[in-house]
């Protein structure tokens, strides 16, 4: 296979950020293509700087390249200027390692982290020189797979993708490789349907073309397998023990700036806090912690190998990691290398421990601190089960400002179930009072209130909810704008409500959304996650052309007995658990974290024969949410951290 580099290089002088296309990351494997190895191209359907740090893609890339019968390279969506240059020069989608054409791989596997990238997926299949619709591709074309969180409702992409993988990919990727390897070995004349049936037999693999969806008017009447190879219910994959998967072992260090440009070490997977709006927390259960000793050794070897001066301990709620104290202490205390290193904890929960920790760890780089109360009033937070008290928040903010921060960011959602205007206005009130807390320590503290429109997601208790319309979201933003006007120190930011609506369409859509996505793509609608490229008008026109409406697909409350488009796919959660939790939400009844309280029988553990893997039977210090604890703030929290010498 010949590299496309000589054709790519002349294009790079005329495009923005050309380093996106050169590869060369430290830690990257540049595989040798030999017969007998299944060639995978792992594609992230957004820009290089967004996609490169994606840990899931890096983990799978390493696992495949470790196999004797597989190889993997990576590709990212070229920005619009590069795409134009490629199309006019006749250069197809390429890998960044060997700069090989995408269609020379056996498999193109897409990472679906967000719904608004769907049009990019089509664009990239097309840029690879392939037909976007699966039924128009032949047995000689690459197999097209997709995985990631959005695969839990893959129906909007059912027309385009050959097979989806639900859940953790570590084990599934090897099993898929074996099926494809054996199928390729059959030589010319092998049949694509046989391959698809072979894949459908694998646990956690969903082959949409093997299912027939029948409609009754606008509603789904039934979803039935067409083939005995296809199971009635596809259940997600779950790896039982994270300790068996210490990946990535060679995290990529890019040559150019990307998001999350630091060492990332995953400390646990899954979350049982039970925030009802959070799809990630629902679909990744149960909690599986990495042993603290392994975390430390991954940090030590990672820092040594990469030269980074920052490590992020990643998870859905890192302050819940039962070994968080000893881990942070080990890093700042120099046990993981002799350099001064800062630790960042993404997804901060508002509680005293987090701030006490942050105080110690942010000595090297003090940017902003972000907390996510999500709701403006206690009533609202009870509905969404984000049980943060105002005292928690003010305590956290006080600790932050008293420790030198001058700017605190608060994340909120609007458009939540049962929301009233007073809940929306509560956001402005919370922000204002946080500024007051800050004035005890500084003359001009800043509190940024960042407001996003809520998008109901599949496999959550809010999957039945009627999403707010864009005008209604705008009205609420205007309420907030008025309430924040003239309030010193409060700065309001908001996400485009129209983009939330489009995300909602793609998130809960059924197979009829496929034609809509194709129309939006054909009309030039790529990079819909990027505000400069997004236009809701394109989506509305495409819906109208397909005889569909926003009202029906996004703004309608679903009924209890309605067949949801993803009902034949399971994240391990019982439907009656989700429904009961939805009813509890409407009644403002909250639930506790099941790591430390009795089981609510959601199904994630019991049906899969799994258990939470936590090193500690008691919750970590701090935090009131669901732990039944009511801890005080600041230095009375039972946390001891070692400060590095010279830390400020």
């Amino acid at each position: 296979m010949a590299t496309l580099w000589p054709s790519i290089e002349p294009l790079l002088d005329g495009v923005s950020k050309p380093a996106r296309y050169i590869g060369g990351e430290q830690g990257a494997t540049v595989p040798v293509h030999v017969p007998g190895k299944v060639g995978w191209l792992l594609v992230y359907p957004d820009t290089y700087e967004i996609g490169l740090p994606n840990q899931g893609l890096q983990i799978l890339c390493e696992l495949l390249n470790e196999r004797h019968d597989a190889l993997a390279e990576r590709s990212y969506a070229p920005w619009v200027d590069m795409e134009e240059a490629m199309r006019s020069a006749g250069v197809p989608l390429f890998s960044v390692e060997n700069h090989l054409p995408a269609r020379e791989f056996d498999i193109l596997a897409f990472n679906l982290s967000a719904e608004l990238v769907y049009t990019n997926v089509l664009n990239l299949i097309d840029l690879a020189g392939l037909a976007v619709r699966a039924d128009e591709r032949s047995a000689d074309d690459p197999l097209i797979l997709a995985g990631g969180h959005c695969a839990f409702n893959p129906e909007p992409l059912a027309d385009f993708i050959d097979a989806f993988v639900l859940g953790d990919g570590e084990e599934a990727v090897g099993e898929i490789n074996e099926v494809v390897r054996d199928w390729l070995a059959e030589g010319p004349g092998r049949s694509r349907p046989a391959l698809l049936e072979g894949l459908a037999a694998l646990e956690g693999v969903y082959v949409p073309s093997l299912y027939e969806v029948a409609y009754d008017g606008a509603r789904i009447a039934s979803v039935r397998p067409r083939s005995p190879a296809a199971p009635e219910l596809v259940v997600k994959r779950t790896i039982g023990d994270l300790a068996e998967w210490p990946y990535p072992k060679r995290q990529l260090v890019p040559l150019t700036e990307v998001v999350h440009d630091r060492l990332n070490v995953e400390v646990f997977r899954g979350c049982t806090r039970g925030c009802r709006f959070c799809q990630a927390g629902m679909i990744t259960r149960p909690v599986r912690e990495r042993p603290a000793a392994q975390v430390r050794s991954m940090i030590r070897s990672g820092l040594e190998r990469t030269g980074y001066d920052e490590v992020a301990l990643t998870s859905l709620s890192t302050a819940d990691f039962s070994s968080i104290e000893e881990t942070v202490g080990a890093v700042v205390g120099g046990e993981c290398g002799d350099r001064q290193v800062s630790v960042s904890l993404p997804s901060l929960r508002v509680d005293a421990f987090t701030v006490a920790t942050a105080t110690q760890i942010a000595h090297a780089r003090r940017t902003g601190l972000t907390f996510a109360p999500e709701g403006g009033t206690w009533r609202m937070r009870s509905v969404i089960n984000k049980l943060i008290t105002e005292e928690d928040l003010y305590g956290a903010v006080d600790a932050a400002f008293s420790n030198g921060w001058r700017r605190v960011k608060l994340y909120f959602l609007i458009g939540l179930p049962t929301e009233r205007d007073e809940d929306v206005l509560g956001i402005a009130e919370l922000a204002r009072r946080c500024v007051e807390v800050g004035r005890r320590h500084h003359r001009s503290p800043t509190v940024v209130a960042s407001v996003g429109g809520f998008v109901p997601k599949p496999h959550t208790p809010f999957q039945w909810f009627a999403q707010d319309t864009a005008p209604e979201l705008r009205r609420k933003i205007n309420l907030l704008k008025d309430a924040c006007r003239g309030v010193r120190g409060v700065s309001l930011r908001w996400h485009d409500p129209a983009a939330s609506v489009a995300e909602g369409l793609a998130s809960r859509g059924d197979r009829r959304m496929g034609a809509v996505i194709e129309r939006v793509w054909r009309a030039g609608g790529t990079f819909q996650e990027w505000s400069e490229c997004f236009e809701l008008g394109r989506w509305e026109e495409a819906l109208a052309a397909e005889g569909l409406s926003l009202e029906e697909l996004a703004h309608r409350e679903r009924a209890e007995d309605e067949i949801l488009p993803w009902e034949h796919l399971s994240a391990g959660l019982h439907k009656d658990f989700l429904w009961n939790d939805w009813q509890d939400a409407l009644a403002q009844v909250s639930v506790e974290d099941c790591r430390w309280t009795p089981c609510y029988d959601c199904g994630a553990c019991t049906d899969a024969g799994l258990e939470h893997v936590v090193a500690s039977t008691t919750p970590p210090a701090g935090g009131s949410q669901g732990t039944g604890q009511d801890l005080s703030v600041g230095d009375r929290v039972p946390v001891h951290l070692v400060t590095t010498s010279g830390a400020r």
Partner: protein, 249 residues
Amino acid sequence: MAERLRFRFTKLGKIRFTSQRDVARMWERALRRSGLEIALSQGFNPRPLLAFGLALPTGAESLAEYLDATLSAVPPSDLAEFAGSLGALLPEGLEVSAVGVLPDAAGSLQQEVTSCSWELEVLGVTASDLATRVGRLLDAPSVSVRRERKGRTFDDDLRPSVRSLGLIDPARGADPARSPSCWLRAETATRPRGVRPRELVEALGTDVVLARARRTQQWIEHDGTRREPLPVGGHVAAVTAPHAVERAS
């Protein structure tokens, strides 16, 4: 006073598409891994004290990039060995070709470097046509170029910054894959304002296309004599990398 090390290094091959900031980050990571103790800046957000001098445009190659690092400890005793060990820590295309301890009196690269030499591969014109245009540019009293600064456009005169410009022997190194190409050699001053290779080539006509730019030297001119920022001899531990060019391109 804290000691300073000056490195000379290349930027060749695919890595030419990274930016100056990107190169700074690559160096920060490599030096951290090397264990060399770099002094940190004071203030709210301490950074390692590294100074790169004259920025290289993204897309251009170089045989002569420089970096000054302020140390917080004594320099390694065997500089040549230390510089050699950096090779494994820097990405392909960045290669240290010399290192030396700076005398206390030495100024910063930003202050001292007065000009640099370039080799420019251009497409779209014949050698004889190009020679005529070069002559015309050199004879002109001023050469106007439109620039954008802080959102406003200005007309700058780039002629005073063009120290010399001429064709390199046409028989040399033309890439047959993108014929016909010609090579220019230029020396451009850093003051009053630097000249980007692209601007210089565009001043030869809109039909001339810059295919590749390679900085070959940087110069410090003082009292009429010209020298490179890292003088050979004295404290300098020269590290030879004779194959760097071939390997990276």
